[in-house]
Symmetry: C2
Subunit: 276 residues, 2 copies
């Protein structure tokens, strides 16, 4: 059998901070043989309230960093960067790159029965209209209702995953969406799967929640196979398989990461991303 | 009369974002003849969870920018930057520079009767122990109790100034401090004066709240007089007196600024702070 040497290279995964770990977690679950180099831009988080110009510049720097780690493919595990930067930078790089928006939007478009889809995300993602545009590429008869939920990220990062305050804020954010008769709701920010129980309870059982992290891992799997660069099933140890980098202090990242990953992360590297 | 030409130059005021506007507001109130050049680092906000190294680098860049605007003095209107960067960079510049920490700490030390002072702030400010250290420089017999309140900034920026959710979060954050028998509480983050009513109601009438913004404007006034560079009372129009700069999109800043400033800000300049 002819093994492509690239198949042994890692997948680069990046996010503005810790949220993309929910995507890394899905990749680990669905593609257990793949190595991962994760970068969290903790010095410049959050992206959700920043300009297009800056988000594109940040994404370019991170891609240069990940390429210095010889990754074979890149996952933009950040809805904001996927929404704002991905199409701009796709042609600049010579390895496969996928974001979280398209896989999530595609599944939502395929699954809705009544053609009414909701999307909750950061302000930048909502204002970009990216989910609406991609859903319409799949089916232009679908009506999309977007709602920015800026407090969800700080609430998740404060660890209030099952909490009366998160409940109250979610009720306010989802109040209007509940009147729109949607049957599908996209969790359009990588932090949100961590409060999917709360969101699900409030939006109601009749609404199907779409987690783009899950769909992205699935798309990545197909892409690696299609390109002939999927890893084989040689056994490898976890601490050799996953590397974590951040652009600012690692402590908060480590605590959060260890609370959501299926194993403990012992070491997190700090780098100066402005040098890339 | 011999007028120092510097007296006509503006005061440079900077913060990680919008919070420092509460300090600018106090300066406008107490020093109505002074011009202000305000810079909000909205591309890199928040500072509260970032490393010392980065906060110092950001502060140096901003000081270079403000000096390019020929300011006669600089106010670090950010508790985190005052706590982390001010002592490091003070000797590097040739104009007067003051932060918000010392004026606030000094007044708290002078006002406490039972020598038990509380301080609420971001994680970086609390972890720096700066307020405790400065209070002890004034009176080493004072016991200081610190509490980080990371959700206060996003709640204020979401506009929930008088809200049941802010109440609930404040109750949790202040619960332990309430058992410490403090008679003085420092609002150690420039956003917090905007929720001082909530904080005051929960911590109780017997606790005196210290707003470092107020004390800082007072210290600035004394400093300008001492250096002989205070502005005279020539009448000037508001739109010539105050300039606002940010490092990322101006819209959110503008909305927030107009909600707390005593006049409407029509134009906000966006600059690339990484170039300084």
């Amino acid at each position: 059998m002819n093994i492509n040497k690239d198949s042994l290279a890692p997948i680069g995964v990046f996010d503005s901070g810790v949220g993309g770990l929910t995507v890394a977690r899905e990749i680990i679950r669905q593609l257990p043989n793949e190595k991962i180099v994760y970068f969290g831009d903790t010095a410049r988080v959050p992206y959700g309230s920043k300009s297009k110009e800056n988000i594109i510049r940040y994404s370019r720097q991170i891609i240069r960093f990940l390429k210095s780690k010889n990754v074979k493919a890149i996952v933009v595990a950040c809805n904001t960067a996927s929404a704002i930067a991905l199409e701009e930078i796709r042609d600049e790089i010579d390895i496969p790159i996928i974001g979280v928006v398209k896989p999530g939007a595609k599944v939502a478009a395929a699954n809705t029965k009544n053609k009414r889809v909701g999307i909750i995300a950061t302000e930048a993602t909502i204002n970009s209209n990216i989910y609406t545009n991609v859903i319409h590429e799949n089916d232009k008869d679908i009506t999309v209702f977007g709602k920015a939920c800026p407090l969800f990220v700080p609430l998740v990062e404060e660890g209030l995953l099952e909490d009366s305050v998160t409940d109250e804020i979610a009720k306010r954010y989802l109040e209007e969406l509940k009147t729109k008769d949607i049957d599908t709701l996209i969790l359009g920010c990588t932090h949100y799967p961590l409060i999917r129980k709360t969101v699900g309870r409030i939006i109601g059982d009749n609404v199907n929640l779409v987690n783009p992290a899950y769909e992205t891992a699935l798309s990545l799997k197909e892409l690696l196979i299609e390109k002939g660069i999927a890893a084989g099933d040689e056994h490898q140890y976890e601490n050799e398989m996953y590397e974590f980098y951040v652009s600012d202090i690692a402590e908060k990242f480590k605590k959060f990461a260890n609370s959501i990953m299926p194993f403990n992360i012992d070491y997190i590297h700090q780098i100066n991303i402005e040098e890339y």
